[in-house]
């Protein structure tokens, strides 16, 4: 577990950049958001189309597939849940 710590931190940072870029959040400072940040209410305040845009970007970059809507809902909750999913499923 110890050895996975740095890669997880860098994955989180990389994902945050990918997401901020994908949905064009230039007005926000990425450093103010952590793994616990919600994509929607009381977080990044994104809508369903933003989430779909992030799904496409994450699937493309990490060669992962979201199998269905239920899995999508589970994975695309917070920055951390996306990182968890990518960590487990990336190729």
């Amino acid at each position: 577990m110890e050895s996975s710590q740095p890669s997880r931190a860098s994955l989180s940072k990389e994902l945050k950049e990918l997401i901020f870029d994908a949905v064009n959040l230039k007005h926000l400072n990425p450093d103010e958001f952590s793994d616990a940040t919600s994509l929607t209410t009381n977080g990044l305040e994104l809508d369903s189309i933003d989430i779909l845009e992030i799904v496409v970007a994450v699937e493309k970059k990490y060669q992962v597939t979201i199998s269905d809507g239920d899995e999508g809902h589970r994975v695309f909750q917070t920055l951390g849940t996306i990182a968890d999913f990518v960590e487990t499923h990336r190729k």
Binding site: D47, I49, L52, V56
Partner: protein, 400 residues
């Protein structure tokens, strides 16, 4: 039976034509709809090679010598127009006539392949040779029809041809044109298939509008046109008697959750016809089979019509799919048939109605006098449009 008032100035539909996956003509579409089996294959409905070939050979027989060089969009449009004009007994168009066409993508098939290829190769040579401008497609069409009268292309997503029909009727009422050809055409393209897929709106299986377990939309292609005339005519197959439009002002792709916009457009159509909600026999719903659309539209219907003795609600997209900008016109062809034959249709694919709604769905198609059918369209960008189509006998005798 209710009588439309003089002030509502209904416009006569004296001819119509259609091309769909069901075949060339309004009759195959009607027959397929009565059978109720989906025409989709893996969730999509594109015309077969044979159907495209028939379109071209048929147009050649009708005197369009260069028909084999027409794009699919042009052939679809032209054929429906020729069918409608033949049915209405219009020999030719004059400069006193009007033409209003609804489409969202026009000749996109002439362009999109080059653009996608340029994305693969990085080479944009030739990408702009077949430039995809809706106006270019419209210009080509006017040329084919040798038509120089007032014309209008409406591109308001899935409400396009519904708006085109309403605007053509407005042109006749204000005296801008004596007669008007109105309708729409749409081809199935990579743009729309990939686009709807990335919004997770497509169903790989036959769509089941208003069903509890609906999975999404089946995209299709086709065209339909109508001949509109101002005078009451013994040749009138139906009347276009009301027209309403509204904007959701809510979201670019998601409909207003309570159906505010759809409510307003239906209300507008009834008010413009001077018809009360209780006089409507049936609502031919937009009913795409997407979770959001059917719920929104159902809620709007319930708000305007209540749930007691409300009009029947049906969607026919479970058979012929969603032809986007052409859908309003294509489905109006079926609405007119329902008026003529006195039939209320059931919704193909619907087995268990959405528990959040209390709509009056027919469990099977049945005979009854059909006086007024309200046809809805809900488009991306929050653009709603509704038409009221009425039986010829619903007109009062004065002023004929």
């Amino acid at each position: 039976m209710s009588k439309l008032t003089e002030n509502s100035q209904p416009v006569a539909i004296t001819g119509l034509g259609a091309v769909s996956k069901a075949g060339i003509g309004a009759l195959p579409l009607w027959e397929a709809t009565l059978l109720g089996a989906s025409l989709a294959s893996e969730g999509l409905l594109s015309l077969s090679e044979g159907q495209r070939h028939s379109l071209v050979t048929d147009l050649k027989q009708r005197g369009f010598d260069g028909a084999e060089s027409l794009s699919l969009f042009e052939a679809l449009t032209l054929h429906s127009i020729v069918q409608a004009m033949t049915a209405a007994g219009w020999d030719q168009l004059t400069s006193d006539d009007g033409l209003v066409l609804g489409t969202t993508t026009g000749n996109i098939l002439l362009w999109e392949g080059d653009v996608i290829r340029s994305g693969e190769t990085g080479n944009t040579d030739g990408v702009f040779a077949n430039y995809q401008s809706l106006a270019e497609a419209f210009k080509a069409l006017r040329g084919l029809l040798k038509f120089s009268g007032p014309s209008l292309l409406v591109a308001t997503a899935c409400s396009s041809s519904t708006q085109a029909m309403g605007l053509g009727a407005s042109w006749i009422r204000e005296g801008k044109v004596k007669r008007c050809l109105v309708g729409g055409a749409e081809v199935l393209s990579r743009l729309t298939v990939e686009g709807f897929r990335c919004l997770q709106l497509l169903s790989p299986v036959p769509s089941t509008p208003f069903d509890q377990n609906r999975k999404g939309i089946n995209l299709s292609e086709g065209s339909a046109f109508f001949c509109l005339e101002p005078k009451r005519s013994s040749r009138a197959v139906a009347y276009l008697s009301g027209f309403g439009m509204s904007s959701d002002a809510y979201h670019l792709t998601a409909p207003h959750p309570e159906g505010q916009g759809c409510f307003e457009s239906m209300k507008g159509a009834l008010e413009s016809a001077g018809i009360s909600p209780s006089e409507v026999t049936a609502i031919h719903a937009h009913g795409t089979g997407s979770t959001a659309n059917d719920l929104t539209e159902g809620l709007a219907v319930q708000r305007l019509f209540g749930t007691e003795n409300a009009p029947w609600v049906f969607s026919t997209k479970g058979v012929h799919g969603h032809a986007l900008g052409a859908s309003g016109a294509l489905e109006s062809v079926l609405s007119v048939s329902a008026l003529q034959k006195g039939l209320v249709l059931c919704t193909a694919g619907l087995t268990q109605a959405d528990s959040r709604l209390s709509l009056r769905h027919a469990t099977q198609t049945f005979s009854t006098p059909v006086t007024h059918v309200l046809k809805n369209s809900l488009g991306f960008g929050g653009a709603n449009a509704s038409l009221l189509l009425s039986h010829p006998n619903s007109l009062s005798e004065e002023g004929t």
